[in-house]
């Protein structure tokens, strides 16, 4: 197993990178942790931990309003983090990058602030079959509120979504097309540029759920040409409770605020309130300042890393895992798209995913088991749950071997 041709000699040094992530040195049940649940949440490097720690110890105050030193420092750190995110996704300006709690909040914001005022009874919102619940339920809510209809584009047995089949569902009633860049349950990478182009040709607004994509692929929102792009910090080696909604400035300008409160206003009287400029119009209340600073540090860290090398390493891990897991009889990989990000969903005959998860944990191997907040995907494959190993650039081929060995142990218990 160790000498497979798929274990390419990469220049990317995963072992060196691991030293940046303190938790990876941990033992779990007396064994070195093998963390393969990056799709749910990735770990943080020292750069992020230290940035948050430094802020909390030396610079914390509320932002934007204070004239004192700490408030000015906190404001500078928070806004500098925004600037790093602007560069990271290549937005046109800082007006287009809103800090939110995460992908879920970003999608809800667009559903309520962009879609809801626009939708009329009989209008349609288009999604795909492989969406995470966070890209289904906000649209169901806004459909209930407006009488619009939710239309679902199909996927095939590999977990692929075909542009022609999506196009066939686009019509003059379609107001918005929301879809995942990468499927969290199957790993499928969707053809974003072609899907956006198809929507754009018909005047349909697009939202891309990038939660699973930003940790694995270079994302350039101008190149993708989508109208909205949403992602979370904690899957991108940053803190929880912080994320980004990118929105095209012209659309954000026209949208009403989502939440009202402090910081999102210019002036308030009981008769009339004037809203603040972008991006502050959408950031009511005191934001997650330390989270934003941590996310800025995560992006900084990634930009110092050999990102192309990191992505190539993840692909080699995916290929190696696909090959070696595929050799276990009774194991079936769920999601076999040609273009996949580095995650493998699978089921093992005779071993329920939850039993597998418990047994693997005993060997120090952390994977996700369950429906992955994508119950329609599970229904499609007639499964209640799958096991999912999702890789980050700090994972190693030896860890894939440990995964395989632990699956072997689980099978022997249930033999």
């Amino acid at each position: 197993m160790k000498n497979t041709a798929l274990k390419k000699d990469l220049h990317f040094d995963a072992a060196a990178v691991r030293a940046d992530f303190p938790v990876l040195a941990r033992m779990v049940h007396g064994k070195p942790l093998v963390y393969l649940d990056n799709g749910a949440s990735s770990q943080r490097p020292n750069a992020v931990i230290n940035a948050v720690d430094d802020y909390e110890r030396h610079h914390h105050a509320n932002i934007h309003r204070g004239v004192h030193t700490l408030s000015q420092e906190a404001t500078n750190l928070y806004e500098a983090a925004r600037d790093r995110l602007v560069t990271f996704i290549n937005a046109r300006s800082r007006h287009e990058v809103l800090f939110v709690r995460g992908t879920t909040e970003a999608i809800n914001l667009v559903a309520q602030s962009y879609a809801r005022p626009l939708l009329k009874s009989g209008d349609e919102i288009l999604i795909t079959y492989l969406e995470h619940h966070a890209n289904i339920v906000p649209w169901q809510l806004v459909c209930e509120q407006t009488g619009a209809k939710l239309v679902v584009a199909p996927m095939d047995e590999h977990g692929e979504v075909h542009v022609a089949e999506v196009e066939a569902l686009m019509n003059e009633r379609t107001r918005l097309f929301a879809f995942a860049h990468v499927s969290n349950a199957l790993g499928t990478v969707l053809p974003v540029r072609r899907l956006v182009a198809a929507a754009k040709a018909r005047g349909i607004t697009t939202l891309v759920d990038g939660a699973q994509a930003v940790p694995h692929l270079p994302v350039d929102v101008q190149e993708l040409d989508c109208d909205f792009y949403a992602f979370s910090g904690h899957k991108l080696f940053g803190p929880t409770g912080i994320g980004v909604l990118y929105g095209r400035e012209a659309l954000l300008e026209k949208m009403p605020p989502w939440q009202g409160g402090g910081d999102m206003i210019l002036s308030v009287t009981f008769k009339k309130t004037t809203y603040n400029a972008l991006p502050y119009k959408f950031e009511a209340g005191t934001p997650n300042i330390s989270g934003a600073i941590g996310l800025g540090a995560a992006v900084d860290y990634l930009e110092r890393l050999d990102l192309a090398g990191a992505h190539a390493h993840e692909h080699a891990l995916l290929a190696y895992a696909t090959e070696t897991l595929g050799k276990i009889d009774a194991l079936r990989i769920v999601g076999t798209a040609r273009d996949k990000a580095s995650l493998v969903s699978f089921v093992v005959a005779g071993v329920h995913p939850h039993d597998l998860g418990t047994i693997l944990d005993e060997d120090g191997v952390a994977i996700r088991t369950g429906h992955h907040c994508a119950m329609p995907v599970m229904d499609y494959f007639k499964l209640a749950a799958t096991a999912r190993a999702s890789f980050a650039f700090y994972n190693t081929f030896e860890e894939v071997d440990r995964l395989n060995a632990a699956i072997g142990r689980a099978r022997s218990i249930f033999a």
Partner: protein, 150 residues
Amino acid sequence: MELNDLYRDVILDHNRKPRNFGVLEPADATVEGFNPLCGDRLTVRVKMDGEQISDIRFEGQGCAISTASASLMTEAVKGKSRAEALGLFDRVHHLLTDDAASSDELGKLAALSGVREYPARVKCASLCWHTLVSALKSPDPQQLAAVSTE
């Protein structure tokens, strides 16, 4: 924590060959149990002879803990009175959640005590019991909504 303590032979055996598995018709009560965290589902059907559980069967899809627990439960309560079954539920619930709980006189159900070391798995073992209790406590068991662990 010991994996052998969770997956004891009794559990593995009842997972491999679940007892009282399948449909029971006609049944006096049919209740569906659902664990939204993992997607596991099972249906418990009960036939009553007055206050006595004269027959019980279950079917569904679940992990080894959930399947074995349901299998063991059906064996344990068949022939018992409603009150006895409810009393047994209390003891099993105690066994699953309290380190100090005794497994004396619980017979094969004692095999479930290993589950309490795995808090994430307690609901797997208790789903079938909550489903049964719902059937036994309802005045009109034919009209029951599904039971959820959440």
